[in-house]
Amino acid sequence: MDNANTRFDPDLIHAIFKLVWSRTALEREKNEGADPLECEVGAATSKKNRPTSANANALKLSCELLRVFVIEAVERAATIAEAEGVNKIEATHLERILPQLLLDF
């Protein structure tokens, strides 16, 4: 069916990953900048401080992992709602499944 709509876009996930990684790279740089000896060889360390990257398959796999995470959240909450005999998922249902969900991921 419309499979493209029911999963995450690897580019989007890549953008989020890159944001986090550039943040940590920046932090690393700052920490090293505090060290006066490291300051001089800035050109050499810039390569070392290059942010992490990811290959295409790893991104697809991460998308799958996130999709499973979201689907599990909905499914588990739906089970609780069903047991209560209502057909709308509310906050209390999510609250009930949240601890175990976070332990499982």
Binding site: D2, N5, T6, R7, F8, D9, L12, I13, A15, I16, F17, L19, V20, W21, R23, T24, L26, R50, T52, S53, A54, N55, N57, A58, K60, L61, S62, E64, L65, L66, R67, V68, F69, V70, I71, A73, V74, E75, A77, A78, A81, E82, N87, K88, I89, E90, A91, H93, L94, D104, F105
Partner: protein, 135 residues
């Protein structure tokens, strides 16, 4: 001066995060609605937003984990093994990711190697980083 720059940087960072969070939320909404429809359930809007934020936080945490895993392996690039490792606490999740990973690999491998795939599934998993010709 230095402070003003880092302030500006932080603002830019926050702006980028917000943008990505919104895009992420749109994807989550379509996944959640599709799933809810499948199981014949309605889902209230704040809960969808809640799940989306939860998943976004999880993504950020995942990014940190993956970076550490790949660094620990002495790499600068995250590969599929790192992603599977991040799910190591849940056997079912890890095995489902493993089979998804094998599917992805099977798509790339030309058909003549595909036939041998089943018997070599195990060791291919560990040789995915460095390509070792096994002929």
């Amino acid at each position: 001066m230095e402070e003003a720059r880092s302030e500006l940087e932080r603002e830019e960072d926050e702006e980028a995060t917000e943008l990505l969070r919104d895009r992420f939320r749109l994807s989550t909404i379509s996944i959640v609605e599709a799933q809810a429809k499948k199981s014949d359930m309605e889902i209230s809007e704040p809960i969808v937003a809640c799940i989306s934020d939860l998943a976004f936080k999880y993504t950020e945490q995942l990014a940190k984990d993956l970076e550490l895993f790949s660094q620990h392996a002495g790499r600068k690039t995250v590969n599929m093994e790192d992603v599977i490792l991040s799910a190591h606490r849940n056997k079912h999740l890890a095995s489902s990711l493993r089979s998804f990973c094998n599917d992805l690999k099977a798509k790339e491998i030309p058909s003549e190697r595909k036939r041998k795939k089943a018997s070599r599934k195990e060791d291919k998993a560990s040789t995915s980083v460095v390509h070792i010709p096994d002929l």
